[in-house]
């Protein structure tokens, strides 16, 4: 396994190089000129040139790329061009609120989806199964924005169960007061597609020969489902969770904007709008690295879930 992990880590280097090149060329060709935004309402070409010089965007491309590579390996992306705040500080202070929302969303959504999926898979073809699938299809066809707008209005304003928006310095207060509504709405949105997907994983396993054999041997249905079917269906579920895991660190822009959560999602969109390249660079590179590590972790976990898996 060690050799496998080392080989995978080694493969990350060219992938990271590709990410760096892609970000760099995208920003320089598609991204706007940050100096235009920073220069204010009235500015002359000399001022624009001065700002470009200060930001280093007047340097040759090869030099800017070299600086970028250095930043990636020193983990020092400097300061935000728009606010002058240290990029590392931006990431550290914004990731907390994002994780406060997104970790419970991922955990609860996965648990609920697995439980409901195994239940509806067990009663596949029944009226209950069909009704739940119709509900899921309907729920999936409604935009996330609608959930947020209606949920905020109904649960926050009409029922008054939660504050309409806000965030505080106290983690406890955030967890108890401000986070529940956005978490609830995110789960509501995410549950339907996950449930459908996981149901299909379970159905595929239920139709396998080993399940028929287990039943023929007289194993109780509960044991067949929870021990054999669940365990085998966990591999694609794990893959799916692994795919979604990096997004946990990026947050949901819509949730953060609507509920005034000072998270990374909002920060990233603002950085893009302001052409704040240091923030964009840092987030994109860290996200790419995170994705690669999560993929590796998921691959290693396959072995734990299914001993038949071997590392080659």
């Amino acid at each position: 396994m060690t050799a496998y992990v080392i080989r995978r880590l080694w493969q990350m280097i060219p992938t990271l190089a590709g990410v760096i090149l892609l970000i760099f060329f995208l920003f320089n060709w598609v991204g706007g000129d940050p100096a235009q935004v920073l220069a204010g309402k009235i500015s002359n070409p000399e001022q624009i040139a001065n700002i470009r010089k200060q930001l280093g965007v007047d340097q040759p491309y090869w030099y800017q790329l070299w600086v970028f590579v250095q930043q990636v390996f020193t983990f020092d992306f400097g300061r935000s061009w728009a606010t002058n705040e240290e990029v590392s500080r931006i990431l550290l202070t914004r990731v907390g609120p994002t994780l406060t929302i997104m970790v419970p969303v991922l955990v609860l959504e996965t648990l609920l989806a697995v439980v409901f999926a195994i239940m509806v898979a067990y009663v596949r073809g029944s009226l209950t199964d069909r009704t739940i699938m119709v509900i899921c299809t309907t729920a999936m066809s409604i935009s996330f924005l609608v959930y947020i707008i209606v949920g905020q209005w109904f649960f926050g304003f009409i029922l008054g169960w939660f504050p309409v928006q806000g965030w505080s310095e106290s983690t406890l207060r955030n967890v108890l007061n401000y986070a529940p509504l956005p978490i609830f709405l995110a789960i509501l949105v995410g549950l339907a597609p996950q449930l459908r997907l996981y149901r299909s994983f379970f159905l595929e396993e239920i139709n396998q020969d080993y399940v028929r054999t287990a039943r023929a041997k007289g194993l109780p249905e509960k044991k067949v489902m929870l021990k054999h079917v669940l365990r085998n269906a966990l591999i694609p579920i794990l893959t799916n969770v692994g795919i979604h895991l990096p997004s946990v660190f990026v947050g949901s822009f819509l949730l953060e904007v609507f509920f005034s959560i000072p998270g990374l999602g909002r920060e990233i969109v603002t950085a893009v709008n302001r052409s704040d390249f240091p923030v964009i660079k840092a987030v994109t590179v860290y996200l790419a690295m995170l994705t690669m590590f999560v993929n590796l972790l998921v691959d290693v976990l396959y072995k734990a879930v299914d001993p038949r898996v071997s590392f080659k």
């Binding site: 204010g40 009235i42 965030w167 959560i261």
Partner: protein
């Protein structure tokens, strides 16, 4: 026997202490509200967004400010002893600071009280021109003060701004006196010195927090920054070292209900009255509106347009809000929206169909202005919350002429078509679209900000309006930063824009068409000798009928040559619960915290 007696005495002492006023917890007056955009920071010389500057208004104090109640606006001294009279033909202004004004406490002062001096003013003005600061308001002091440009140029060459260098145009005469010598007469200089960015700052504070001056604002203002979670929460608290203000009632209008209410609430009291202000930047409209309805906020500045029909159906406060005693302050902001025609002969390297000053091109621009359905924009897109602009100068600024009316910007498709026909813009090939007089195709490209839903709707309206008069218009969505750049370098044919007053004088708007400003604020590249001459003459004149006549003439030239399609002046509605006292929106100042009060009894009664 002894122990119960001691216990009894202790209980009695506790009960007396608890009942006495000294023992009672003093309730703090807290105002809660939202900003509709997140702030960038609080270094006054480094920020220009409305909300950062709005917070700076409370942390710092300029030399001059505006009277809270006077309309039209009126300059009054703040840290200066008086509003100075222009000297030497409007080229010299001398300010005498009030002695004894203190900066808020900060570790940078090493435990000492720090008095405001003329050197702090000198330092702040120089900061605008320090290239390292990238000040978005550097233009305020560009080609303005004798010797300052040379110092900035030297800094650009050497990479270091010499703050100790003596600038001939900034004369610190003594501890409390500073005199500015301008390169040319400027009768609006006093307005510049009342801007919330143009405030003295302490050099030792700036140097102590050089890495992040945005996060360490230390001024002489009535509030201090107590807590700042960037883009999420801003908390201000009363500055204990502030000397306090009193409301000046001299300029109040007895016929104005807002003035009467403010006087009743504030007269004779030492301001500020609020202990704490809590601001939540909320970018989306729904949570901002719901937070107000939920009483999570005490006032709602700039009511979201999306909910205007719910809050103000038919222009009247909704009964549910009226029952709660909510009040609404309606304000035409000193701003104008407009569309800019590129007047250069080429745009993006191609012939520009709307550029130039030839009669046919002018006719085309005027026809497009007439063809655009502005009434629909106001009624539908802006939900009636705007008035049609008659000149580039908005209400509330000096030089605005309320009587000025023009038909040149009305929606009149018949006139538009007639004008186009007259100058040869007709459909020659029968495809339903007009061609240029020389027979070549006529296609106008309209660039707009892709990130704005409002701009997208305006682009659709442009396309539809032009189709109605036979002009093919192609709307092109571009990123905001690209739009800014394209407008500055002339890579556009037609594009949307807006301007809000930096200071309340028509010159701040009319400079948008001044020839030498082409490539900067003059996005159209309009160069008309007659206009430029009028502009220069107006600059050399103080406020008065003579200058107003020049402003009117400039507006007429603008309407005749049509470098702009004038849009609207937006109307904002500001809502407050009845426990917020002293409210009146000022057209230039962004916030009014130092004049507000919270009636705790009324607030509690409403909560129950």
């Amino acid at each position: 026997m002894k122990r119960p007696a001691v216990l009894l005495a202790a209980c009695l002492a506790w009960a007396i202490a608890a009942a006495s006023p000294a023992g009672a917890a003093v309730e703090r007056k807290v105002l809660r509200m939202a900003f509709r955009t997140a702030e960038a920071g609080f270094d006054p010389q480094r920020v220009d967004d409305r909300y950062s500057v709005g917070v700076c208004e409370n942390l710092y104090e300029p030399l001059l400010t505006y009277d809270y109640l006077a309309r039209p606006v009126r300059l009054v001294p703040l840290v200066a002893e008086s509003v100075p009279a222009p000297e030497e033909g409007g080229t010299r202004y001398t300010f005498r600071l009030r002695p004894g004004i203190l900066f808020a406490d900060d570790p940078a002062f090493k435990g000492n009280r720090r008095e405001l001096t003329a050197h702090d003013v000198d330092f702040a003005i120089k900061r605008f021109r320090d290239p390292a600061n990238r000040s978005p308001y550097a233009w305020l002091f560009e080609s303005k003060i004798a010797g300052l440009d040379a110092l900035a140029e030297a800094a650009r060459r050497t990479g270091r701004f010499d703050y100790d260098a003596r600038v001939p145009g900034i004369e610190v005469r003594d501890r409390y006196t500073v005199s500015f010598k301008l390169l040319e007469p400027d009768y609006n200089f006093l307005y510049v010195m009342a801007m919330p960015n143009v405030v003295p700052v302490a050099r030792e504070v700036i140097e102590a927090y050089a890495d992040d001056t945005n996060a360490h604002p230390v001024g002489t203002g009535p509030f201090v920054l107590k807590e700042w979670v960037r883009r999420s929460k801003i908390v201000l608290e009363r500055n204990p070292l502030h000397r306090g203000y009193e409301l000046d009632a001299r300029w109040a209008d007895p016929a104005d209900a807002w003035d009467r209410a403010a006087l009743e609430a504030l007269r004779g009291k030492r301001l500020p009255l609020l202990d704490r202000v809590e601001i939540d930047p909320i970018e989306d409209e729904q949570p901002r509106f719901l937070a107000f309805l939920n009483r999570e906020h005490d006032l709602l500045d700039e009511m979201p347009f999306a909910f205007i029909h719910q809050a103000l159906p038919n222009g009247k406060l909704a009964p549910a809000l009226a029952r709660q005693g909510v009040r609404v302050f309606r304000e035409e902001q000193p701003e104008v929206t407009y569309d800019v025609f590129n007047l250069n002969d080429t745009a993006s390297g191609r012939p520009n169909p709307v550029g130039g000053y030839a009669p046919a091109r002018v006719a085309l621009r005027r026809a497009m202005v007439l063809g655009y359905d502005r009434d629909r924009e106001i009624a539908v897109l802006r939900k009636g919350q705007a008035v049609a602009a008659q000149t580039p100068v908005p209400p509330g600024v000096v030089g605005y002429d309320a009587a000025f009316r023009t038909a040149a910007q009305d929606h009149d498709p018949a006139r538009a078509k007639a004008l186009l026909d007259l100058f040869g813009y007709v459909d020659r090939d029968g495809d339903g679209w007009r061609e240029q007089p020389d027979g070549s195709p006529l296609l106008v490209e309209y660039k707009y900000n892709a990130g704005s839903q409002e701009n997208r709707q305006l682009a659709e309206l442009w396309s539809k309006s032009m189709a109605d008069v036979g002009i093919r218009l192609e709307a092109m969505a571009v990123q905001f930063v690209d739009l800014l750049k394209d407008k500055k370098v002339g890579k556009f044919v037609l594009a949307g824009s807006a301007w809000i007053a930096d200071y309340p004088d028509a010159q701040n708007f009319l400079q948008l068409l001044y020839g030498p400003n082409a490539g900067q604020s003059n996005e159209s590249g309009f160069r008309l000798a007659a206009y430029d001459s009028l502009y220069r003459r107006a600059l050399a004149l103080p406020d008065g009928p003579e200058r107003n006549a020049l402003y009117r003439e400039m507006s007429r030239l603008m309407l005749a040559w049509a470098p702009f399609r004038l849009g609207v002046h937006r109307i904002f509605s500001h809502l407050q619960y009845p426990w917020v006292k002293g409210y009146k929106k000022h057209p230039i100042l962004y916030t009014n915290f130092k004049y507000l009060d919270v009636d705790l009894v009324a607030q509690k009664a409403a909560a129950q």
